[in-house]
Symmetry: C2
Subunit: 219 residues, 2 copies
């Protein structure tokens, strides 16, 4: 699958590496792709299998576009590419926007919903935003299974994203489809609990597992 990743921070790099290792054709889009120093740093950090290009090029050939830009900048960043460039594509949205202190930039409508509303012809799937970059691509490094959530209005798009998550090491039984894109609120708001847990543990390296009653099938 052709995957264009927007955002070259820890998340974008980790996902680029993970999907390239699984055999996908990955382009990492950077606005500073002509900055030779950054470009060589990026190329060194993600390995040979990932191409570095400007965001427009990363999106142009992609079946799936990944939004790994900062949540507060995501909508303007995506808008700068033009909605026609994103039309029909799956947009896998990983971003969360933070405000001042421990607050969200989107305390009511979620970022995922705003993106879907702004780009109605794009199929937005929110996922992966409840876990740190390193664990996104190494879910098996935890002592037990943890759960990953999906939110999106387009069922086929969610099924495609599930196969991409499987490719990162998330088994099908670890994935929980929450429903439409409005359920992205839950995923994004969990960030505040995530930060509290991280502070308590002194590490971002943890997941959460949904634990069900003994009378129900395990998740």
């Amino acid at each position: 699958m052709k995957i264009g990743i927007l955002g070259t921070g820890n998340v974008g790099r980790a996902l680029a590496d993970g999907w390239a290792a699984a055999g996908h054709d990955v382009v990492l889009g950077s606005r500073r792709s002509q900055d030779l120093e950054l470009r060589s740093e990026l190329e060194a950090s993600v390995g040979d299998r990932v191409a570095v290009a400007d965001p427009g090029q990363a999106v142009a050939g992609a079946d799936v576009v990944v939004n790994a830009t900062p949540g507060t900048a995501s909508v303007p960043h995506l808008a700068s590419l033009g909605s026609s460039a994103l039309a029909g594509k799956i947009l896998l949205d990983v971003a969360v926007g933070f405000g001042e202190g421990v607050t969200l930039s989107h305390p009511v409508e979620s970022l995922g919903e705003e993106i879907q509303r702004t780009f109605p012809d794009t199929r937005v799937v929110k996922t992966l935003c409840t876990i740190d970059a390193g664990l996104m691509v190494a879910p098996g490094s935890l002592v037990g299974p943890s759960t990953l959530f999906l939110s999106g209005d387009d069922t086929d798009a969610k099924r495609t994203v599930e196969t991409l998550l499987n490719d990162l090491g998330w088994p099908p039984e670890s994935l929980l489809d929450l429903g439409g894109i409005a359920t992205a609120r839950g995923q994004e708001h969990y960030s505040l609990l995530f930060m509290g847990i991280a502070e308590a543990l002194g590490s971002y390296g943890f997941g959460i597992q949904v634990v069900v009653p003994t009378s129900t099938q395990s998740l």
Copy 2:
């Protein structure tokens, strides 16, 4: 320990029963304690060991006051008792306030923080708000351990609340102290993810377990 519970919904009743069964002296406070029909319904539902009284009486003799009133009504309800009635006491705050649709009544400052700010002489501990009433008092009914969180500025108060949680069946290793009362935001905001998971599972009967790396001690 003398426990005064404010709020006679599912949460108040479940906790009253659970702590009474553990040998505590529990008073369930209802504004309609003189309504004989409600009183007999309450008495039938919580069993002989729990007394039913008006909220002022429930609080007056209590070492620990439990706020299980609706989150949108909690501050006025507590204020109606007078801050001197709550001064020095531990207030175990379970409440979450919801707004229109899938939103919180406290999207920035949490309810727990507002209560602590409003009653500075009361020792507020937020906990138990990440799980359904039935599981609050039956954590062992899940297929595996789940994690419960605590937030509060007063460390001694949190240690006391931990023993009360142990009495409900939560083992010490299932409890995670997130830090000061500001971390109540994480617990309250998790409600939106809780609702999404509940919708997906078709049940409120689940917990979440924090899952750590293989190199770290299990939580």
